[in-house]
């Protein structure tokens, strides 16, 4: 086989791995609840593919091939464990499945169940997103570790611990019942949004970790939407992320300088992404059940309007924030509200909102200080503004944001 053919085969394997990883892990672990073993079995199968596909050609149904190979590897693993009852029943399940498999190459998509398992209340909330990124998207621990600012070893250990908990604590692979669904779905949406990064507000706080994972998060939201096409908040989340993603190119100047939303050139925004976001937002509102992500998407939608009208309707933004505060009065929402009030009703009114926030909550919250500095500066309170700028600069992680604030501070 020629070099370029081999390259083509490797690319095929990469593509199949990327597209099928979550489906295969979800399916393989849905009976055993043993995510780690399912992942091991799948990576064995992928290694086999790397040796046999370049030699024998890519099988007609690569996903089915991987599933069969991974299943054999899993059965071998369970046999070797030689543990009594639990493994017996697992083995039985696996072999029964295997019989069904020969009848059809189709297998059920269990990714939705896997998403709910990753964000189960019994799992440490800090691990919801990492688990999702690994088990559904196949990201390795090192990459997740970088994004979450922990060492690769630590992240590896935390992931192992979380998977052991899934297996041993009896967490079921199931879609929650109607009664529990809203709350459980929130946890899934939160975990996806956490991957996207929370630092996309205009005033400051470009979240560097989020940016790497932004595309992965959008992919996850699309998967979720396929599985739950009727949930308004899933549309809302996707709309929110697409609106932010549409501005990616405009967020930095040609010299790498940080450009705040208010100074971005709308010509640089991606119109197709904005239109797609608007479609999802319209779909969400037609369902008649509002929620946090729809409101956040609506705020971004008002910002996007500037591309058409040339101005920002700050009053509309404050109204959406007021609704948002009623259902999700987080520090981020309150800070964003203060900035919007500052634009809609003047810096004094904005500062009143900022001042109502408990100072104990903000000692390490960068956007608060950036908004405060900006409002004080507009009021001509130079020395107080300089103090707030210092706090915002000191808490900034992105050198471009730091530079931007240093210049603003003067």
């Amino acid at each position: 086989m020629s070099g370029s053919d081999q390259e083509g085969t490797h690319r095929t394997i990469e593509r199949v791995a990327r597209e099928s990883y979550g489906r295969l892990v979800a399916y393989l672990s849905s009976h055993t609840r043993d995510v780690a073993s399912a992942e091991d079995a799948l990576s064995n199968a992928l290694v086999r593919a790397l040796t046999t596909w370049p030699r024998d050609g890519v099988p007609q149904n690569p996903e089915a091939w991987l599933l069969t190979t991974a299943r054999h590897s899993l059965i071998d693993h369970v046999r070797h464990q030689q543990v009594a009852e639990a493994s017996e029943s697992t083995l039985l399940l696996l072999s029964e499945d295997s019989k069904q498999m020969t009848l059809s190459t189709e297998f059920p998509d269990e990714r939705l169940k896997l998403l709910f398992v990753c964000t189960h209340p019994a799992i440490d909330p800090a691990m919801h997103t990492p688990l999702m990124l690994q088990t559904v998207l196949g990201l390795d621990a090192a990459r997740i570790a970088h994004a979450f600012l922990v060492s690769p070893t630590t992240m590896g250990q935390r992931l192992v611990r979380a998977k052991t908990k899934i297996r041993d604590a009896g967490i079921q692979f199931e879609v929650p019942q109607e009664r529990e669904l809203p709350q459980r779905l929130d946890a899934v949406l939160e975990a996806i949004y956490a991957a996207f990064g929370i630092g996309w507000d205009d005033m400051a706080g470009v979240d560097q970790h989020g940016r790497d994972l932004a595309e992965e998060a959008i992919w996850l939201a699309r998967v979720l939407l396929q599985l739950m096409p009727r949930e308004a908040e899933v549309h809302g989340l996707l709309a929110l992320m697409l609106h932010c993603e549409a501005r990616r190119a405009a967020r930095r100047g040609p010299d790498g300088r940080y450009v705040p939303l208010s100074e971005q050139d709308p010509q640089q925004w991606s119109l197709p992404l904005i239109e797609e976001a608007e479609r999802h937002l319209a779909e969400a509102s037609s369902r008649g059940r509002t929620g946090r992500f729809q409101l956040e998407a609506a705020i971004q939608s008002v910002h996007a309007e500037r591309a058409r009208s040339g101005r920002t309707e700050w009053v509309a933004i404050t109204l959406f924030y007021e609704q948002l505060l009623r259902i999700s009065p987080t520090l981020g929402t309150r800070t964003g509200y203060a900035a919007a009030v500052g634009e809609a009703r003047g810096p004094e009114a904005g500062l009143a909102v900022v001042d109502a926030i408990d100072p104990d909550d903000v000692s390490a919250y960068q956007p608060y200080w950036a908004v405060r500095a900006h409002l004080l500066q507009r009021l001509g309170k130079t020395s107080e503004a300089a103090d707030a700028f210092d706090r915002a600069i000191g808490l900034a992680e992105d050198p471009a944001v730091r530079q931007f604030l240093l210049q603003r501070r003067g």
């Binding site: 600012l149 922990v150 630590t154 000692s363 390490a364 700028f389 210092d390 706090r391 915002a392 600069i393 000191g394 808490l395 900034a396 992680e397 050198p399 730091r402 530079q403 240093l406 501070r409």
Partner: protein, 122 residues
Amino acid sequence: MQFALLIYESPKAFAARNSDETDPYLAAWRAYYKALVEADIYVGGDPLQAPETATTVRLKDGKRRVQDGPFADTKEQLGGFTILELPSLDAALDWAARCPAASIGAVEVRPLSPGFRRRVTG
């Protein structure tokens, strides 16, 4: 618990110390220090003079070996340290990422060892 942030800096960062008060690196450090103090986590710390001022001593076969310069010959050199009181390594890594040296040099985070300290000081 307490963590030391060991600040490793490039020659350029050391050179920036000689510039005037408007230097962005200096301004970033001032702001960072302020944020640490205001967050009530700052325990102590100090910058060190440039690596050229270092002298390294070893005793080999009972003989003194004195070397001009720092122990390790790498591009980034220890430029100072900060000690912070924080609940966890995760929090320490967050603060390390905000350190102005993190984007142009490196920040090593290590927990202090009060256990060993007690054995030494008795």
